[in-house]
Structure formats: structure tokens, C-alpha cells
Symmetry: C2
Amino acid sequence: MKIQHQAGLGAYKASGFIGDYCRLVRGTVIPYQYEVLCDRAGTEKSHVIANFENAARALRGEDTADGFYGMVFQDSDAAKWLEAAACSLANERDPELEARADELIALIASAQDEDGYLNTRFTVSDREKRWTNLLEGHELYCAGHLMEAAAAYFEATGKRTLLDVCLRNAEHIYKRFVTDGAEGYPGHPEIELALMRLYRAGGDERCLELARHFIDVRGVDPEYFRRERESRDWTVWGSDGRDSCYQQSDRPVRELKDATGHAVRAVYLYTAMADLAAELEDKELEAACRRLWESITRRRLYVTGGIGSTVHGEAFSVDFDLPSDTAYAETCASLGLMFFASRMLELDPDSRYADVMEQAFYNTVLSGMSLDGKSFFYVNPLESVPGISGKAPTHRHTLTVRPGWYACACCPPNAARTVMSFGRYAYGESSDTAYCHLYAAGEVKLSNGMEFTCETAYPFGSEIRYRVAKGGRFAVRLPHWSKKTALTLDGRAVSPEIRSGYAYLDVPGGSELTLTLDCGPRYVYASPEVPELTGKVCICAGPLVFCFEDRDNPFGALRLILDTGSKPEPCTAEGLEGIPALEVRGYALRGGDTLYSDEPPAYEPVTAKAVPYYARANRGETGMSVWRGYVRN
Amino acid sequence: MKIQHQAGLGAYKASGFIGDYCRLVRGTVIPYQYEVLCDRAGTEKSHVIANFENAARALRGEDTADGFYGMVFQDSDAAKWLEAAACSLANERDPELEARADELIALIASAQDEDGYLNTRFTVSDREKRWTNLLEGHELYCAGHLMEAAAAYFEATGKRTLLDVCLRNAEHIYKRFVTDGAEGYPGHPEIELALMRLYRAGGDERCLELARHFIDVRGVDPEYFRRERESRDWTVWGSDGRDSCYQQSDRPVRELKDATGHAVRAVYLYTAMADLAAELEDKELEAACRRLWESITRRRLYVTGGIGSTVHGEAFSVDFDLPSDTAYAETCASLGLMFFASRMLELDPDSRYADVMEQAFYNTVLSGMSLDGKSFFYVNPLESVPGISGKAPTHRHTLTVRPGWYACACCPPNAARTVMSFGRYAYGESSDTAYCHLYAAGEVKLSNGMEFTCETAYPFGSEIRYRVAKGGRFAVRLPHWSKKTALTLDGRAVSPEIRSGYAYLDVPGGSELTLTLDCGPRYVYASPEVPELTGKVCICAGPLVFCFEDRDNPFGALRLILDTGSKPEPCTAEGLEGIPALEVRGYALRGGDTLYSDEPPAYEPVTAKAVPYYARANRGETGMSVWRGYVRN
């Protein structure tokens, strides 16, 4: 099979819907997050920059001032910011941003020990504790994020400083775990996928070998983390390493059958597995990835593309346990699902991977960020109940208003870097083909020489027009949900080869390829295997899942029963101008004074209004619900 | 207002449905639980008898052998067993049982310190820790249960040994907390209601005064338990006392508005409050009780009479948070709700108290015990999902099969003593009136001189016949759910005075009073305020809530949609012969291969079978559901 790759960072210059989000990230999120790193945003203390400064002081033998502060993985906030900045610079020159990034990179370089070690938590102090807590210490995790940033920054600017820092760091890690044969592997996968990027950017075969080592050794000794815990007299959070499913160390990764444990850890690991499987043509690893993909998408996935349904360990639960109101569905987990999907697409261009990638992005990922880019959700439940969500003991994690920042600030910068590198997920290429996985307006210049412009109002419009400047073979995804899909070349219908949900056809330069989808609203039902959702329905349109908010439905979103005999019609929602909303007929349950009654509640006919799930919770605190009971009249 | 009291222990000799349960408790549960106390049942180690033996040894200055073992409240298992035995003896002579009880009482007496202190945990060792951990130590809780046993045993046998032990113990506690003014009050309410019983049995005014003291002082200083924790260097479970709602110490009890915290603690406290309010005609306390009753029954009560919906702290959640599948709904909490209801009835004979008392008993309480009396549930969810219940992280507590015994064995003996004293809840009396709160077949002899026999197949039949030997005024409850209720005296219709859901009429000796209820099946709907239950329905008949089990519904109870246009018809369920079952029309959702689909699942017409909730989980592991979606054809 011919492998196709993600488009390069500079290959896609966004406009349209994605362009608006990039502008938001570039204009608001990146500057704001930098202020946070510098402790100037007035939010919860970050201390990220100060940690690097203090680590550099420690290396110079100076006093470490106010020491280290924050989570053990605090360094990764700097890395994710740098990666977002790199992606931004790849598409739009910004000397001020570049200078700021260069300055941070110089600071990071000054915090690297002469043996290549780089982590402020164990450099500012506790140097003797290096590498003694792989379970919780996040040294390999932080190293991984920096490697991703380094690869991106090199790709965006051609500057090698951070790349060289990370290659030296990788060499240090390689020496420890491969050359010297030290036991262990990451408690939080990330470095494996990052090493693959560093390998491609820096060309050092040891990066590939180290990634493969961490994949191969993982779970072979399920007792490793327990023994590690017992061999040291300190912990970060008291983890004893015995819940090996949590950190995916319960068995060799090639034997994994179900997606289990901490959801972000899981999908980061699967991403690296898929990447390695493609790189090494490792069929056994590929088969494991396919099993895990099936486990997630057939049994453990929310309709919003959310994964990890339980707050306990921010983890996958058992099959079909997909509660709406207590869902965890972390923003970062859906980002990780996008990463996993994009690597599966490289192995095998099949629309079901891209469909899920898109489902995760347009719903859970975007739900993580407010429309003004200034506040963020970790947790993305499918139902918010005033008085219960955020308040009941089982619902404490389901906040109803996005906070400005978090002490554990993984999701906001993770979303920012992914929005800014959307082209990598939207477009792929092989030597002779342009893959259009997602429909993203903008200009595309691939390294195989093909060039085209994509014009579309998607996801608010259903026509996608590719004006091709330098032609070649196109592989255009046909999403499963579009019931009427038409493809024309210069206005004439074409009958392309269809394979695994992709239309393959040659498009010469100067031509215009037009894809017309059916993005009309549709009712979506869950399998009766999901007990939470029997007798319920939700509304989708194109890739968007819709929800009902009290704000638009004064009778109460949680009292609504839909009439699926009614066709949802476009409308607008107050305060969400420019975002499509849908009107639909249904019934509001009345009454409620008696807790239990022999009388069925009265059904009052109502017109209800649904808004896209990603736009939820942007107009103050409100009840919200995706899935509703239904009747069919 | 004239106060009416619970019937005495010996006033009711059960036959019929309750008689069968009494036989089960007398023949199986009491002997079995005694074997458990002696560590001869082959279940989890109990060590209760051994603890008392070792405490006695410690007091004699002897070696304490194998020391203390078990929960800090282990002593209370002996007390609850003794109380159940006492109730049994009150109705049926059993010299062997009485001898065994006397022997245990002698042992308990030998474990009492000369100052009156009595608790094996702090007598076997750690004597210096006495009274230093009211938050977790359960010394007052264990003392309370022994007082209840003492009152019952004295009432049943006239023997004073245990009564005198407990009076001495009460004197010791009185001295400490009243005379000497020591700070503090029980971390787990129980002694307050027990002191009221001891006061009535033993006549010592100090018992009443001590009960009132503990009620009055509670929550006046919400910081008490936090300070207590900080003043000692040991804990039992690490409780820091800061969650004052958990143990109802957040405010003076007269100011309580919502039922909060650990549900068993809460209703035990409210029981004592109601008891004291009646005894002292304390209107402020009575008003608080009424508010708490409303909080529970209007906003925080399962249709099965379960309370305390969350596993977090086995506690009340917020209003209308009543999940079916993750419900905690502890058996003991519903027992406590019965106690609270029975005290409210003494204040004010209103059928709504008796209705809830009955709802709790016939559903959650009986669900706690298997039909053979040999295994027990703590937790009584309204839905069991194969593969999720007992397995998902949020569902670990919702076991699908009753274990034989528990390390924390509160529920089984608590249910046993309540079944054996059913007459106290079923019947009440004032100087001239017999109150018939619940319909319980058997012979009734009240201390006011009235005597009658109740004949009924209730809850399996709807006719209740009182054959009156020695007549007087009757107050017969008319349950809210009976749509057609008829009362005849010697075959002639009567028009009694109806007040607060009770029919009041004079019945001369030699007459027969017959109450005919409508116990036919009915559909019950929840308030739309309960988000979990919008669009759902359940089936009840008389006081019984029904559920669907996979065992009777091979298409899957969790795939069932009911047709509420269909009238449930009597039938039998395999393996539950003698217990009424109901057949009803509905639809089974088919399919399920695709997690999400644009096609609604097919509805296949089915006949579904429902069995009483209390009889659930008696035929192996199975899916189960009380609330189902519905259509009306």
C-alpha cells in the first residue's frame, strides 16, 4: 500500500470557518496564553517562564530564586504554545511573534543540562530524582511536547535551535533507555508520537528506534510501574502503579483489544502505534490499531466525538456506558482522537477515519473553547442540568461556564495548536495525489507540486469548490452522513472511482472540481445497546451535532420531547448571529409539582430551537441537552 | 393535639405476607446472623462475640487474646441481632433463642466498665482514646443500638439486665456531656432516638434530657468536628470533619431546610427530632421535621422509597438528582425513612407519612433481602445493566447479585429487626383509638384494650378485613394511590369522617370492618423536574413498584418501550411462583450494530413481563429496569 502523509505545516493557508478560528487563535489565544505563561494574565499562577529561568540559574550554579511551581508537566505548556506559534508563523509572517518564540527557545536551551537532560521540575531542584518516577513524573511527556514544537518550528521557520536542543535531549534519552538498557517507559504516552515527528524533521534514525523501543517495551512487564513505585520514597499524587489499565501498561500494546484507561494517554499511544505501523509496515501493530479504533468508534464514542466517558481517571468506561450528564469527554481526548484518526488515514485512506476526526473537531474540540477564545472547557457533557451539573457529587466536573484558565492547563493550548495546524488533518498527499479529508477553505500547496484553492462555507454550507491551479489526482472524502453527494468537474457530472469512501479522479490544472453534499439536518439515533439513549434522538446537520439550550427554549430544554415527524428548519438564535440554528416541532412537558403521579405529564406543543453543540454555553449559564425523547407524528 | 404512639412490641402477631417474612427472619436470618456473630457462618470474619469476650478480659486485667477486630461500630451488630431476637420473643416463645440472648446479654454486661462505659473497640485497647473521636468513633452510635435492644428485650421478656446496663451507660454519657459539660455530639445520630426508647422503657428523665441535649447542641458550632480532628493524632478513616453537611452538623437542626449528607445519619436524626418534637410539643422542631419531610418526599425520593441517591458519602444529592442506574438508595436509609415516617405519624396521623413508610418497606427495604433470607443488598438501584452495573467506575457499588454478608454489616440485621417489629409501624394507638397505618394480617391487642384480627392477602390482595373482638374507634389509612376505596361495617357501607387520609369510625366488638382498595396496576410518571425520567413511566400496583428483568424478557429489559394504552394483566413469572407478576404490551428496540445511525431502531411488538421490585435479582444475574420509555397507542 502506498503511504500518504499529512500535508506540511505551510501547505494550507486557511480562510472561511477555519480561517476565522485561526484568526481567533492568532489574535487572541496565542497572545493571551503567552501572558499566562509569563504570569501576566491575572489568571491562576502559571510560572512556566519562571521555571525555565530558574532551571537555567540552577545549571549555572546560581540561586534558583522562587524555584519550581506548578504541575510536574508545567513545561509542556511552553511547548504547546511554541507549537501553536510555529503553526501560525508557517502561514503568516509575524516578526514580533517570532522574536518572542526565539526568545523563549533561547531560554529553554539555557535550561538544558550539558548531558542533554531538559526538564525544569527536576533541574531547579531534586536532580537526584530524575527518571525515578516515570509513572507520574512526566519527564518523557514534556520532552515529547517540546519535540513536537521543535519539529513544527523548524518546519515553519527553518531555524534549528530548538530542533537541536530536542535532538540532544532525544540522544540523552536514547542513551539511557536503549544504549544503557534502563527499565521503563512513559507513564503518559506522548514522546512516542513526538519522536516520529522529530525523526522526520531531524533525520536521526535513533528517534525512530527510540519510539519503537517505547512501543515495544510497553506492558511487556505489567508490574514495572508497581515496582518503580516501591523502589522510591516519594510520589507526586500517590499513584501506586497498580492500575495498569489506567496507563495502558497491562499488556504488550500489540495485544490490546479494548480502548481502556485514561483517554488522553490511550489515544496518544494509539497515535504513535499507528504512525509506527505505517512507517515500519508492521502489520501486527496495524491490526492492534484497527481493533482499538473499532473499540472506540463502535462502542465507546459519544455522538459529539467525545471519548473517555467517566470522570474516574478521566477514562474510558466499559462498552456502551455513555452517560450524557456525567460525561467527562475531555477536550484533549478528542484532540487525541483526531491525531489517532489522522494516523489511521495515513495507513489507509478510509472515510470512516476522517468522519470521526471531523466529528471530534467540530463538536467536542470546538466546544472546549468559547467563541471569543478567552475561556475553556475541559469537560464536555451532552447535558447540563441547572441545579445538578457542577453541583451534585457525581456532576462536580461538569461545569456550566467555561473558566478562563486551569491549573492543569492542557486543553486550551492543545486546541490552539491543532486549530493552527488544521491543514495537517484536512489535507494529505502522496507523490501523485492530493487527499481532501476535511473540507477546509483556503489555499493549498502540496510538496508533490499540486496547488489549489478550496472555496466553501462549510460546515455552514454544503458546496465545496476546488479551483485547481496545478493539477493531479484528487482523493476527495465522501462522508457517510451525506445522503446525496454530487461531484462535478467544470460543471459536468463525473463518475470517479470510489474506494473506502473516497472519490478518486484526475483533475487537470485550470479545472474546477465541485463537491456538493447533503448537509441538511437529520435525526440521529443511538444503538439500543446504549441504555442511556433508548428512545432518544438528536439532531445533526453535516458534521455538526446540535443541542437545545434553555436560553432559546424558555419551557426548558430538559422538558423537551421532539416530534421526529417535523423537519428541522433553519433559523437564527439570539446572541449567536452568523451561526446556523434549527427550529423543530416538539412538546414541552408541563407540570412537576408532584414528584410521582398517576397522571402522565401534559405535552404542550412547542417550537424548539437547536444550536450547534460547539456554540453551547456562550450566553451565560443555561440548561442544555443533546439527546431528547421523541414521538413521531 | 392528642399524640398517638406506635403499638407495643407484643401487640401484633403477624400472619399473611408479613407473617411469612417473620418466619423467614425467625427461622433463617436470626439463626444465621448469630452464626455470623460467632464467626461460624463461613462468611467474612465478624468477631463480634469475641470482641465482647476480649473486652471483658481486658476489664479483668487478663490478656485480651486476639484483640478487637472489625469496624468501629462492630458492637452494633450484636445489638441489632438482640433487638431482632427480642421482637421475635415478644411474639413467639423460644426458650433456646431466649437462652442464647440471655447469654449474649450477660457477656455484654461483663464488658461494661465500672464507670458505665461500654464499647469493645475502646475497652480491648486504646482506652485513652475514649470519647476523643465522636466524628468517626461510633461510641454513641453503638450505645444507641444497645439501648434500642435493651428497651425491646425488656418489653419482650420483662428482664432488666440489659436495660440496667444501658441505663448505667446512659448515666455515664449524661455525666460526661451534660453534668460535666463536655463538648460534642454524635458523628452518627442514633443514640438520640434510642434514648427516647430507653426513656420510655426505663423511666429515667435523664435519658430524655440527654436526647434533647444532643439535638439542641448539634450544629450550633459547625466547626466542632474539625477542631476535634485537629486536637487528636489519630483517625479511623481520615475524615477531617470539614464536610459538616455529611454528618448534619452544618447548622442547628431547627434551621435545617434540605435533607442533606449521609442518608442514614440524616433520617436517624430526623426520627429523633420528630420523636422529641412530639414528646415536648416543640413546635419549632416539628416545623423543621416537616420541612425535611417535604425536602425528601417532594424532591429527593425514588419511586421505590429509596433515598440517598449518590454513592459519594452514601448521601442525599441535590434536588431531583435521581439517577436509576447509579442510585445508592441504601437499604438502611429506607429503614430510617420508615422510622422517620412512623414518628411523623405519631405527631400527626396523615396518610402521606404512612404511604411513604409503606413505599419504602415494600420496595427498597424488602429488595435488600433475598427471598430465601440468605443474602443481602446494601444498594438498590432502579436499573441494572449487564456489563455496566458493578463494572463501570461509576457503577461499582451497584452489584447485580446479593452477597451473603458484608464487612460493614449494617443493613441485614437492621432489616431483620424491622420486619420482626412490623406491628410498631403498622399499628398505632391512643387512649381510645386504633390506628391502622399499614395493612398487616394478624392478631392485634392494644394496650388501650382494643383487640382485633386483620385478615388480608395484602399486598397481593386488595381486601382488608378487621374482625373486631374488643371494639373502639378505628382510624384506617386510605392510601393516595387507591382510586376506588370502600369501607363497610358488617357488610353495610359506612360514611366515616375522613381526615388527612384516615377514615375515623367507631367499631363495636363483634363487628367486622372491611376496607376494599383498588390495588390494580397503574402507570406512574415522574415530575418533569427529574431530568433522568422525562418521557418515562413505571408500573405500580398497590404499594408495589414493578420492574422488568431480562430473565422474563428475553429481548432485553433495557430495550423495552411500554405501550401505556395497554392494561397490565396478572400473570406468573417462572421461578417466582406465588408472587404476582404483570404482563403488558410494548415494543422491543431491535438492532444495535451501529453506534449511531440516521435510521430509528425498529420497534418490534412484544409482551413484556414485570415482577415486583422487591423480588428482583432472585434468579441469577440479569438486566433490570423500573423506568421505561413509553408510547401511548
